[in-house]
């Protein structure tokens, strides 16, 4: 059995600098946020409020929208633009009631049979005592569970920070895309550095080690496509960014809305089931037949021959026909 380890070495200075630059861009104060993109992408949008049991959490926004005239449900984390709005929106870190609002909107999408589009942009679920008390873990878990079984197509776009469980809670999809300078990580680089390096100032090193950039995530098979940002980056061109995101969503919906419900759910399950690196060693299970090959289990991850990876969206972009073909649907 061949060894899978790629390079168990500390990240180079260059890798560290590059990763940290992306982290800073993902957190850039001028970066377009969920409501910015919604205003630029959708023809119409009605924000709905409330979890129907405790509170309306402004760190998550959502509601029905029209995308080129076709109805979808949109949900996203919402950071503020300045100190005041950041405080009211808790810097985009949801409480449990934020995820429960999201679940309510997901169920409404499911009831109406309209696709779900989510925008991820959070440092993570808020970890304070009140959030714990009201069930932060339960809220994330049940949100993930709901998404894995939702009977409508789901497109996820990581637009800024994809921070851990708080991101994944609205981030299970049929296709997961990310803006070029977005990040996705299991823990914030600061948190990782504090624990593994015991030095928060090692955050850039941790960022590089976790391979949290969009390009890395595509390599790892965690996301399915990268959306190029215009010019210097999304912060410098909201309209251009929104146009790229819109095109990406339309293209993805054009593909996944062709699946019937069974195929959609089976494929979504398979997508999740295939994520991760698992090695089968010689210790055979005492009663089960020999497990199938590693190759099949981790095909997505390892770019084995015959396993096409999805290239950048800008490269394979359908020339508008794909989206048009679906114009009459939904």
């Amino acid at each position: 059995m061949s060894e899978i380890v790629l390079s168990a070495e500390a990240p180079t200075a260059e890798a560290i600098e590059s990763a940290w630059r992306r982290v800073q861009l993902a957190r850039h104060p001028q970066r377009p946020r969920t409501l910015d993109l919604i205003a630029l992408i959708f023809d119409d949008f009605a924000e709905l409020h409330g979890d129907r049991s405790f509170r309306d959490d402004p760190a998550i926004v959502g509601g029905p929208a029209l995308l080129e005239g076709r109805p979808v449900m949109v949900i996203g984390h919402q950071k503020g633009k300045d100190t005041e709005s950041n405080i009211s929106r808790n810097f985009g870190s949801p409480y449990p009631e934020g995820f429960r609002k999201a679940q309510r909107l997901m169920r409404l999408a499911d009831k109406l049979g309209i696709p779900l589009v989510t925008f991820l942009d959070t440092a993570g679920a808020f970890p304070g005592p009140a959030a714990e008390e009201r069930g932060q873990a339960e809220a994330i878990a049940s949100s993930i569970k709901l998404m894995t079984g939702l009977q409508v197509p789901i497109v996820v776009v990581i637009i800024g920070e994809g921070g851990s469980g708080g991101a994944l809670a609205i981030g299970v999809g049929d296709e997961v895309l990310a803006l070029e300078n977005a990040t996705y990580s299991v823990i914030s680089p600061e948190g990782c550095a504090a624990i593994l390096w015991r030095a928060p100032e090692s955050a850039p090193t941790a960022a590089a080690a976790m391979r949290m950039t969009a390009a890395d995530q595509l390599e790892l098979g965690v996301i399915d496509g990268v959306i190029e940002e215009p010019g210097e980056g999304a912060h410098a061109d909201h309209a251009g960014t929104a146009a790229a995101v819109k095109q990406a969503i339309l293209g993805t919906l054009g593909r996944i809305t062709r699946l019937d419900t069974e195929a959609l759910l089976t494929t979504r399950y398979a997508r999740l089931r295939g994520i991760g690196l698992v090695r089968e060693t010689e210790v055979a299970s005492p009663q089960l037949p020999q497990e199938p090959s590693l190759r099949r289990r981790i095909g997505r991850l390892l770019r084995l021959p015959g396993v096409p990876r999805r290239p950048r969206w800008s490269e394979i972009w359908p020339s508008g026909e794909d989206a048009d073909a679906n114009e009459e649907g939904a």
């Binding site: 899978i4 569970k145 994944l168 419900t261 759910l265 494929t267 999740l272 089931r273 099949r296």
Partner: protein, 334 residues
């Protein structure tokens, strides 16, 4: 190197033969502690427990058969902090004698077969990477195919940082099968032991049909270290205890270790697996999965589809008209 003993010299016994209870500070001979299921005889403090002891405690003698013992972690990120991930793995293997932080298999509790997954906190803090996630997913899928209840005993610091988002995505990988268990009417009992935090609590562990906890177990979303690293806020004492979670509605009951086996046996009798061979419909958020969901639940079914571009080649449901959700059998057919 001279190791500084944490005990005063006055005490004559060596640290190897006895343990100080962190709750009541009484001294317990190790043999006595083991005999007492690693529970302090004075104050009832529940010490952490290894997987082997846990199996002896919970399952019928000799009934447990481990599955997928050969699954082994790779190093998908080439991760290296103060030492390489592969070295940490090797050290954990040597220290615990385990290959990974979780084990799954099939065993029985007072004659009732269950698919069971167990964590060992001693292996890298019971952290969940690709292999732990894979084992739990297979555990749930086995419960689905064999139509037996699933049980998981958690003890984990959360997702394993060294595998990055691949660990994060194990939250979804381990949760997705639960939708199918719901649709199939198969109960899942989640047991939270000290400590259960982070990504494990934020996925399957919080989603049991019944959730039990051991007394005083630390249970919380943000581990103390994470919270201090990201929020800088001190969490109140006892806040993340099993007792607090019971009060706040997240745990069904707190079960002392000595009562765990009889409690599980009772629950398994009270929560029967729904009648087989049907596509059960439920009114929960999990409805609409039919036989296709059950039959195609095993990971291997998806191997091919996964390797292809998503959405091109996927197994289709049987064209028998039963659809994703067929009729629940008449009550009197059962």
């Amino acid at each position: 190197m001279q190791i500084k003993l944490p005990f005063s010299r006055r005490r004559e016994v060596t640290p190897e033969t006895w343990t100080v209870c962190p709750s009541c500070e009484s001294q317990i001979f190790n043999r006595q502690l083991e005999r007492n299921l690693r529970v302090c005889p004075t104050c009832g403090h529940h010490f952490r427990m290894g997987i082997g002891q846990r199996i002896e405690l919970m399952l019928d003698d000799g009934s447990f058969v481990e599955h997928d013992a050969g699954l082994d972690s790779g190093d998908p990120l080439g991760f290296h902090d103060q030492k390489p991930y592969v070295d940490r793995l090797e050290a954990a293997r040597i220290k615990t004698g385990l290959r990974e932080a979780a084990v799954w298999g099939i065993g029985s509790i007072e004659g009732q077969r269950v698919a069971i997954g167990l964590f060992d906190f001693h292996f890298m803090g019971g952290s969940m990477g690709s292999v732990v996630g894979e084992k739990l997913a297979r555990c749930f899928e086995a419960a689905l195919v064999e139509r037996i209840p699933a049980i998981v005993v958690s003890a984990s610091g959360g997702a394993r940082m060294q595998e990055g988002t691949l660990s994060l995505l194990q939250l979804a990988k381990t949760t997705a099968p639960l939708v199918r268990l719901d649709a199939a009417g198969i109960p899942f009992i989640s047991i939270l032991t000290d400590p259960t935090t982070g990504g494990v609590l934020a996925s399957f562990a919080s989603l049991g049909d019944v959730i039990l906890a051991e007394p005083k177990a630390l249970i919380g979303f943000a581990g103390a270290r994470v919270a201090s690293g990201t929020v800088g806020e001190e969490l109140p004492e006892g806040f993340q205890s099993a007792e607090s979670l019971l009060e706040h509605g997240f745990v069904d009951d707190i079960v002392p270790r000595s009562e765990l086996r009889p409690t599980l046996s009772r629950l398994l009798r009270l929560l029967p697996v729904a009648a087989a061979d049907d596509g059960l419909q439920t009114t929960g958020d999990t409805r609409g999965w039919g036989p296709i969901g059950v039959l195609s639940g095993m990971a291997e079914r998806f191997g091919t589809a996964v390797s292809e571009t998503i959405g091109i080649e996927v197994e289709q449901p049987p064209a028998d008209g039963s659809g994703p959700a067929s009729r629940r059998p008449r009550e009197d057919e059962r």
